[in-house]
Point group: C2
Chain length 333, copies 2
């Protein structure tokens, strides 16, 4: 129970016979410190287990050393959010930064959350997704000068850093694959086109359909947007009709399970499906379906990398990264 008095700069200063200022600078690696002084100070710091008080640093400098990850309502559950988080923490190791996950509750407008982050200087940078072409949040953050990186693109004139998956190519290749399997009426499961990446998905989908001479359709429903039972019901109802799709493209493992369940429950037995997978559980769905991987850990890592460079002052123009879909994994066929 004896608390041995947490060491501060003052402690070190007393031991070393130096002023607090000098100790501070020695540890910060400032240039105008004698090399031997710096070495001595650092040795003492390690010896007594000093580590700086975050709160004091933050109060003094105004920098919080916090990166905020904003997650949409359903995303935490089972979602890619977890993998992204892992990538972020990985990219942040060795830096003074921490991630803080801010779940975005249904009843709080996202704008309000951002506002709070900005007003309270709760974070030095923000990461978020579900980007719309003229995203208000992006505009706000640009105006307020708060650094951020989006997962997805806007169509705004002002440049800002982003990382995106090439969803056009994903959908295009998925259709190619389905058509090769004999599908003539492919269906894309997708969220509403208000989000940029959905537009890309649709574009790739319809381009490939056009080139293959098949007629595609878009069905509502999306992992983490709708709960699985909503997706399930959409699909099941659609399968019950005579002109039902004979192949699906879906954006995640959860919707793949829902689609498969709908197939089983409606008695369909020729099943063609390409899913986007963000983990390896895709390999354990039976029957096996084709999947194209999206590495959300890499995404998080890249976003973080760009954010740090943006905070360091690099211009936004060059802070972009598109992640290409790897070759389609044709599993066990």
């Amino acid at each position: 129970m004896a608390h041995p008095e947490r060491p501060t700069l003052k402690t070190i200063a007393a031991i070393a016979g130096l002023a607090v200022t000098t100790v501070s600078r020695a540890l910060a690696g400032a240039p105008q410190i004698a090399p031997e002084t710096r070495a001595r100070v650092q040795r003492i710091a390690v010896e007594i287990g000093y580590s700086p008080d975050r709160a004091a640093q933050r109060l003094r400098t105004g920098r919080s050393n916090v990166i905020a990850l904003i997650l949409p309502p359903h995303e935490e559950i089972l979602g890619y959010g977890a993998s992204m988080f892992r990538g972020i923490t990985r990219a942040l190791r060795g830096t003074p930064y921490h991630v803080v996950v801010m779940p975005h509750f249904e009843d709080i407008p996202e704008a309000e959350m951002l506002d709070k982050i900005i007003r309270n200087r709760l974070a030095d940078g923000v990461l978020f997704s579900r980007i719309r072409p003229d995203d208000m949040r992006v505009k706000t953050l640009l105006e307020e000068g708060m650094p951020f990186v989006t997962h997805g693109r806007t169509e705004l004139a002002t440049p800002h850093p982003w990382v995106d998956y090439d969803n056009f190519t994903y959908a295009y290749r998925a259709v190619e694959r389905l058509v090769a399997l004999g599908v003539r009426r492919p269906a894309l499961v997708s969220a509403p086109p208000s989000q940029t990446f959905c537009q890309h998905l649709r574009a790739g989908f319809f381009r490939a359909c056009g080139e293959a001479g098949v007629v595609g359709e878009v069905l509502p429903g999306f992992d983490m947007e709708d709960p699985p039972d909503v997706i399930y019901r959409h699909i099941r109802d659609r399968l019950a009709r005579s002109d039902a799709p004979d192949g699906f493209i879906c954006p995640g493992e959860v919707s793949a399970l829902a689609i498969n369940a709908a197939w089983v429950d409606t008695g369909v037995d020729t099943r063609h499906l390409v899913m986007k997978s963000t983990s390896d559980i895709a390999n354990f769905i039976r029957p096996q379906f084709d999947s194209i991987f999206e590495d959300m850990t890499e995404t998080g890592e890249r976003m973080t990398g760009l954010l740090l460079r943006y905070i360091a002052g690099e211009p936004a123009e060059q802070l972009h990264h598109v992640i290409s879909p790897p070759p389609l994994a044709v599993i066990g066929r």
Copy 2:
């Protein structure tokens, strides 16, 4: 771009013609403030959009208003960690606290993380799981006087707050169900018994087996402990032998998928399985298996509630909660 100068207590004090001290107390709800003064101060605060500087509060009071959630390596991926997180944030709404998720990297000993949290006073309280009967971490935290709540029980003499699922009953009921379905050689998929809850699982499992007169066995493998392909291989190898189990009890959806895949891939077609489910994707696995729900959101909520009461000074003796398994969901049979 015009930053309108973040308002502080001083701003309010100037407007109200009061001392900073008074404003501080008025907002904190201290007793010795005239009601009309308090009202006026609060009105001004709202008007100019004041909110206190966390860093300054933290520096001054030593309290960080942060609750740390420590997640083991694999748990972030697809795991119950996400649901727990949701429960925690829900319980924390309206309080001054934030959650910070600290992922526990493979190459950093967990003790070191805790040490850092304690030394740097990074959090006011800690939540963690994977509890062992004589858990070192629990001992350390008790010694250091850092408040915490565990997800799972120890067998230590000193009481501490915990929340636990009744895994004994879960396993017991699962065996009952399997036996009712005609299973004679049930297998439990479980992590090593170093963790308390695994001991409970085993106890419930063997008790039920004994009472039913069947011989149970325990197989290695556990969601989020091992990646799914490890579980898959364990099961597949086991199924290939002549004395293979004819029914399984498993601790999560991921292992359910792995077991099912192993069944399909080895050509077994009588399949009996009871899984523990922590989300509703269990409903979309085909064929459908029985499942018993564990509400991780409630778990997170309860843990947080207990933690706040513990921080407020309530004695640990009464800060416990056991979550009972709901009735087995017999799906679609």
